[in-house]
């Protein structure tokens, strides 16, 4: 059995009277691409936001490699190796691709006090940035201004930035959103390559992609986990079919 990197136990989040997540349990293992499925408003975003530290849970425990990290903020979680990408492209649009990733890489060894160093010549950060760019399939586009690239490339850049932080856990919020079929296929290949050494949580709407790449699927409905299991198990689950997949599943 592989190693569990990030796990949530009994994670609950309330907004006023509304319970957005109730008693959610989820475990992300190294080498496993874990997809989080669910209709709009099911609580997927709340879930990923609590895992990344953007939102504190009302109840429950979040563990990283067995250690309780519930109280850590977003930047502290990033520092220990939990990286996330965002549903809406969240990059530095006026910076080059390289600078986007270089900033991400610099965060591992920030050296804020070395005021005499030229940041652009810090070899370790630049190297790591270039490596991440290559890994995400953006080699050759280092000097492009991020905001001028295509939507698909910007999504790739999102991932490259997370990779540049040497994250072991990737929390990816709809990385395929708005992509064409060719771009999607590239991204799926990329995800398959990335998961070999990392744990990945993929929040996604695109059914075909989810079933194509994920090793494990958790389905959320109304803020609760409806079912969790292998793609086969989920595909054949009557509960899931009824609640979410509907006739789409019969189609296949």
């Amino acid at each position: 059995m592989s190693e569990v990197l990030l796990a949530a136990e009994g994670m609950t989040r309330r907004f006023g009277g509304l319970t957005a997540n109730q008693n959610v349990n989820i475990a992300l293992e190294r080498g496993v691409l874990h997809a989080l499925l669910g209709p709009n408003g099911a609580g997927k975003s709340t879930c990923i936001n609590m895992l990344s530290g953007d939102l504190p849970p009302s109840e429950g425990t979040i563990r990283f490699k067995g250690e309780d990290i519930t109280g850590l903020t977003a930047y502290q979680r990033s520092r220990i190796g939990i990286g996330r990408s965002y549903q809406r492209t969240n990059i530095f649009p006026k910076f080059t691709v390289l600078e986007n990733c270089r900033l991400a890489a610099q965060s591992r060894k920030p050296r804020p006090w070395s005021l005499l160093t030229d940041a652009l010549r810090m070899p370790d950060a630049v190297e790591r940035a270039r490596a991440a760019i290559a890994e995400a399939g953006l080699a050759g586009r280092e000097e492009r201004v991020a905001g001028t690239m295509s939507h698909g490339e910007q999504r790739q850049l999102e991932i490259a930035m997370v990779l540049a932080t040497d994250a072991e856990v990737l929390l990816l919020d709809e990385p395929l959103a708005g992509m064409g079929s060719e771009e999607s296929a590239q991204m799926v290949t990329l995800l398959n390559r990335l998961k070999t050494t990392r744990a990945i949580l993929l929040v996604e709407h695109d059914m075909d992609a989810v079933f194509a790449v994920s090793d494990r699927i958790t389905v959320m409905v109304n803020g609760q986990v409806l079912e969790s299991g292998s793609p086969e198990q989920i595909r054949n689950s009557p509960d899931v079919q009824q609640a979410y997949l509907g006739h789409e599943a019969e189609h296949e």
Binding site: Y75, R84, F95, L103, Q106, P110, P112
Partner: protein, 322 residues
Amino acid sequence: MNSRTTTFLKLAALAGVLAFPAFGSEFYAELIAKVLILAIFAMSLDLLVGFTGLVSFGHAAYFGIAAYAVALLTPKYDPASLWLALPASVLAAAVAAFLIGLFVLRTKGIYFIMVTLAFAQMAYYVFHDTPVGGGSDGIYLNFKPDAAIAGWAPFDLNEPHHLYYFVVGAMLFVYALLKLVLRSPFGRVLVGIRSNEHRMLSLGYATFRYKLAAFTLAGGLAGLAGFLYAVLFGFVTPEYLSWHKSGDVLLMVILGGMGNLVGAIAGAVALVGLQEIFTGLTKHWQLLMGLTIVAAVLFMPGGMAATPARILARINGGKTNE
């Protein structure tokens, strides 16, 4: 403008400033010194507004605190030591900025603008309403700080030329320092915060600490400007901390084009220049100033600085550059 032209223009301006005392009148030398001090002030604010995205509307507080510090450190019948008064004044401003920054940096956007203003007003009223610094009349600095170290004086700030070059040196020091800072890993993070603070957090940066460090540094450099201003003119009043002063320096930064150190200097030149021209024309010079500002916003979006750059770019046929 291509970078060679820019470098040439910068060097020409520097040469002009350095050579000025040899030819120009003392009155104008003092005016240039004033502009250079305000340029330091404007550059320090630009670090916050232009590079970190923090629109402080209370930057005069740190300018004024350092000015009061040197005035209060100067004994009634003796000069203070420059090597004590200068660091102490700058430190006073930096410490004030650090403490205020702890509070104000919790707020964002319009709230940040207003809270920085509120703290500056607090500092203003401390000096205005209490007898610490002579109340609303202010306080005189009877002696300029003494540069002597163990009896040997490398220069004498009572000499107008010495003071002039001291100010020029300080301005160049601040420019170089900020250039280095902005090039360093720390500076890159500040620019990242301006662009997308949330993303910086998720990349693992403790952005609050970076902003606090920037706020403290900017406060200290504003303090250097305040120190020099007090030494140049020999008196300090609560008006140094007033919101008009904060507005003026913000004006310099915006007019010069935010996120551009040379622009901040140009903004200081433009503002003082306009003031000089308008005061020469009429008693109601503020009317002309106000009209200029309104016209600048309405008809020159992007700031006045963008306009000459655009024109020069057309002449040179090159791309715009700092």
